[in-house]
Subunit: 214 residues, 4 copies
């Protein structure tokens, strides 16, 4: 049995819900066979989000950590490739902080690659009939902050821990009058289950194109 920790975020930017947490919760209500799923809801705040992540990792001792966030405006489930050592907030976080060009971890490397089999995860979601792609940037807000912090934790303190980050679209109810793409929470939850199973089941990736010309 592989222990998988799934994290989602509380709402931010004036939204009534965060589809990442709703999808994580829905996934945990019907966990895939062969996995022991635990979950944590992270505050959408620089610093505090990483404290909560560390606490959840210590509490659940996972083999794999899958952090999930909302990517409002993206049409598909995106598996992030790389976390960068920068906080640059376009909007304040939920605690009112708005760092500009500050490192997530002072002295840390410029970036960490995901240690999930990114391409295999994308392929598995597509095979399940849901839209997915590789993303080359997780932004510079709290999502990337948590992603970088997770990878730094694994690299410096938890050598066996594998992890990565997945962005999910808005839920339909968030964009009823905004003409933006959405994905219902049950579909996002199914994608997360597929990704968790894929990440638990293999440590090497498949060879499949997932790049961008720019």
């Amino acid at each position: 049995m592989t222990r998988v920790l799934l994290t989602g975020f509380e709402p931010f930017d004036g939204e009534a819900l965060n589809p990442s947490w709703e999808a994580v919760r829905a996934a945990a209500a019907h966990p895939p066979e062969g996995l022991v799923l635990s979950t944590a809801r992270l505050p959408c705040a620089f610093g505090a989000s990483l404290d909560a992540l560390r606490e959840a990792v210590e509490r659940t001792a996972p083999d794999v950590v899958l952090c999930v966030g909302q990517a409002g405006g993206r049409p598909d489930v995106t598996v992030e490739r790389i976390a960068v050592n920068i906080d640059d907030a376009r909007i304040p976080d939920n605690a009112g902080a708005r760092p500009v060009d500050e490192p997530v971890v002072p002295g840390g490397p410029a970036a960490y690659f995901s240690t999930l089999p990114v391409k295999a995860c994308v392929a598995a979601v597509r095979d399940a009939g849901l839209p997915a792609s590789v993303s080359q940037t997780a932004g510079t807000f709290v999502c990337n902050h948590v992603f970088y912090g997770l990878m730094h934790l694994a690299a410096t303190e938890r050598p066996g821990l594998r992890g990565g980050f997945v962005h999910v679209p808005y839920a339909p109810g968030q964009v009823t009058d905004r003409a933006l793409p959405s994905l219902p929470v049950p579909a996002a939850a199914e994608a997360l289950c597929v990704i968790a199973v894929t990440a638990a089941g293999r440590t090497t990736d498949i060879r499949a194109e997932g790049g961008a010309t720019h």
Copy 2:
């Protein structure tokens, strides 16, 4: 009991399914109370689509006709405001025809407005938690062809008949690797039921903004 005819299209442009027909079929499997729903699947072909529509209208004698089509790339359910008297095909239809700047009905008026309560339909879909908006153009392909033909039929031969056109997004399975917006068929079906009930229940529209600056 209001008799409502729902039409969808067969697949076109190389797609394996057409979400308009899938949603119409799903809606008819669980019809809203108070409506007598009938359905027709139209060929995606200039001319033949209107023959099939006329046959369905004669067969079912509806009070309201709701024609539905696929709008690949749109993120939400769009209720069309106006049908224009032009066929201008960017791609061949399923019979290989590709008319350019030909009228749907020679000598017909330049356009017909939908006789559905467009704004009320949009508001009702949003109230159901699904994304919707008014569209100012149904294009110039077979969807608009059917929409114009329907309104011309009502205007010239079926004075009591009310009708209009709704576009639905791609289904998720159509865009697994394309990074385009989608809406699952059950959600599209629910939107169609809400629109059918709204259209059956009121002949005047609400006052609500739904315009575009360009």
Copy 3:
């Protein structure tokens, strides 16, 4: 010598300039050979814009009228195909009016087609190395209002008058920090000259695809 009236709009929606008027002015400063160009700057207001247009038409007795407006967010020069008999304002006009679902001309037809050679105009702009396409909707704001009013004037009072509407993108200076498409004013002016010459030179259109599937 063909007399061509070019109209542009004053700024609206908080913008410091309107690229339609800037481009019209720049075009008139270097008019193409064989044309007598006159210009008018229209207020961005329902009603008043049409009063100013009528006055300009009476003053200059044009053979061709080319009305131009700003389509913020569009990447290319768009030649409009059809004007619709509806005012539906998403934002207030410059006089504070915000009509919803009111006709431009009570009792007027649902729509008028442009009487410019739309496809030939698009082809000519492209031949000049600039991006252009046919647009199926001019929206429901003051641009469409002027377009419809122009075509109604021609249809009911000025039988020989040909006319249409062209939308131009934002100027670069309007979107320095907005990540939206733009086209410099000199390029927009060149496109307007090319369209004016094309419209003056031919009364029939070319056969070229310019449609939309939705």
Copy 4:
């Protein structure tokens, strides 16, 4: 006098020109005062592009290197923040190579940050009336390959060398019939001059938001 090396690319992906090289050439034809500009045209090929870059750096001994590439579809000039150690080609390069998930430099760090004053460069282009923004990803094709290789060269062999990467939109002539954003070459060239002057004139950046939520 600061020596600045500007590089652009040859055309790729079936295009007749590459606006990056056209803009670099135009900038060099009218170099800003106080700079000694030299230029190099790089092949759009993994490996060979970095050989050409290294040769140009050795030949010109620059203080600042500004590599420029085409970002087809972006509406504005984007100053890249970070280069990542991955080649993942969606399309073949001009030599037919299509690496998937290979490092640019085996054993190199996951990423390098630009050593240009990224925010100051963006602000300066905007002050010049042109659209610009920070980009969080240069993709995973030859542009990122060159960007990463440049930063690795500076980090490992040329300690005083500062450098970075700028993406420019399509030129209008590339998208006459594609409804995609563009920026004329003279405007792109002006932006490059402004960036070169800014990069030459300051080694520290300004504090200005330029992040992305995802």
